[in-house]
């Protein structure tokens, strides 16, 4: 790990002053950042510690009915929060199932959304792959057991690792992003970058931009939402396949459906095919199965990850059933 400066701004304004220097990088919990720095994958000149800025740590119910989450809320705080538990079990479950208690106590939701790919070639300094400016992808024809089954045709097969992103996207979350001068609101849907757009970036965030708030729209409280994560180990683990669904129901009829697949593609993947099956229809187990099948219609597995197709079909089915209180196992 290279030497670096450590800036300790006391206010959000001060953060932006530091960020004017392009060699500054935001540090929140530091879990992902330290991992990347130890491997010398990044060598920022200055870390700007935002973790001590309490104004960025809140969960609140606003007067207009929206729910706001500050980027510095830790994953444990999120999992224990009453408002989140009451309205958004999908988000609670996603936070609760990430990593270990120790990591959840330190890691923040802002950092979780911005963490970089876990592709083992990307994480090793020995492989100069396309995402790091090299000429090819080692995973497409290499070890790709945990890589993408959707959207990987454009030359990089990473999967987006953030569990909270999957849940938040199903809840139509909006990010408030600021550079100190301008503030913009952006659908989480538009936050992640596909390799075809820019293979070197996973999010649209610029170096001088800070996520200051995450907003969940009011109507999402009425969506039945559920998150399920399948992993290889019984203990903590990265997901093999994780799915969040949020359904607006009128009795047994589904009026709106969001079906988001995690660990499937380079971005949290909105399955239009599965959503199409559900929207406007009465949800039965048969329909949920059909939606599961539909979610993998466009799948393009690599040599070692065909198993994921079966997993996603099943997890989508289960998440839909459990969201609306049908027992998927009988």
């Amino acid at each position: 790990m290279k030497k670096f400066e450590y800036a300790q701004p006391k206010s959000i304004d001060e953060v932006f002053q530091y960020l004017e220097d392009p060699d500054s990088v935001i540090k929140s919990g530091g879990i992902d950042l330290l991992d990347l720095m130890k491997e010398d994958l990044i060598a920022p000149k200055r870390l700007v510690n935002i973790r001590s800025i309490n104004q960025l740590s809140f969960v609140r119910e606003n007067e207009d009915g929206t729910i706001s989450i500050g980027p510095n809320v830790t994953l444990s705080e999120l999992a224990d929060n009453e408002i989140i538990t009451k309205y958004f079990p999908a988000l609670r479950e996603a936070a609760r199932l990430i990593a270990t208690p120790q990591i959840r106590n330190a890691a923040t939701i802002g950092g979780n959304l911005c963490q970089r790919s876990r592709c083992w070639y990307f994480r090793s300094i020995d492989f100069d792959c396309s995402r790091k400016g090299g000429s090819h992808c080692y995973a497409l024809f290499g070890e790709n057991k945990y890589h993408a089954v959707l959207g990987a045709k454009s030359g990089c097969a990473i999967v987006q690792p953030s569990g909270t992103a999957v849940a938040l996207m199903s809840l139509n979350a909006v990010l408030v992003i600021s550079n100190g001068k301008n503030e913009k609101q952006l659908d989480l849907n538009e936050f992640y970058v596909e390799p075809a757009q820019d293979i070197t970036k996973e999010t649209i965030l610029e170096n001088n931009e800070l996520i200051v708030e995450i907003i969940i729209p009011k109507e999402m409280r009425n969506y039945k939402n559920r998150y399920i994560k399948l992993k290889e180990k019984q203990s903590y683990d990265w997901p093999l396949a994780d799915v969040a669904v949020a359904l607006k129901m009128n009795g047994i009829k589904c009026e709106e459906a969001n079906v988001i697949l995690g660990s499937a593609a380079p971005i949290p993947w909105k399955s239009k095919e599965a959503e199409f099956e559900l929207k406007g229809n009465r949800i039965t187990k048969e329909l949920a199965r059909k939606a599961g099948e539909a979610s993998m219609e466009e799948a393009f597995p690599l040599a070692e990850n065909k198993y994921k197709i079966r997993l996603f079909k099943i997890v989508v089915y289960r998440a839909i059933c459990e969201a609306i209180g049908i027992n998927p196992y009988t």
Binding site: M1, T100, P101, A106, Y236
Partner: protein
């Protein structure tokens, strides 16, 4: 560039001038000579380096010194009264929950954090609390029994 840190370490106010980019693990082991906290993986996977930061269990291998100013830190050296083992330490011995012992400090700190929050934890609670602590020797069964037994005894006190 060095910075001055002041914080509480095992109940005592301490101060030190150090590099803000130093890992808390190194600060504890090298500067304060508290070598009970162990380094296993250095990447947040094994839990050997677990300490309490403001009453929460965290991996000291992934926390930078710059972040701890003003906080309250407890390591394995700080959970017992002088010369008397803490109930958890005693029960770990009695249950054979220590073999090579490398995971033990982290394991005990995670269990300690659990009992602070939930004095009467369920079996599930114990599994969840110890999820981030790997043990390659015991098979975990003895560790879980030791925590259950400690909770029982500490409730009586």
């Amino acid at each position: 560039m060095k910075i001055d840190l002041e914080f509480t370490l095992n109940g005592k106010n301490v101060s030190i001038e150090t590099e803000p980019g130093k890992r808390l693990l190194d600060l504890l082991r090298k500067d304060f000579k508290l070598t009970g906290t162990k380094e296993g993986c250095s990447i947040g996977e094994c839990g050997a380096c677990t300490i309490l930061l403001d009453k929460l269990a965290v991996n000291s291998c992934l926390i930078l010194a710059g972040q701890i100013n003003g906080s309250d830190i407890i390591t394995i050296e700080g959970i017992n009264e002088a010369d008397v083992l803490h109930t958890l330490q005693q029960k770990f011995l009695e249950h054979g929950a220590v073999q090579c012992g490398f995971c033990t400090p982290g394991m005990i700190i995670s269990a300690y954090a659990l009992l602070l929050e939930k004095p009467d934890p369920s079996y599930e609670d114990i599994l969840n609390a110890l999820e981030g602590n790997l043990c390659r020797c015991t098979g975990y069964k003895q560790i879980i029994s030791a925590v259950q037994d400690s909770a029982k005894e500490m409730m009586q006190d």
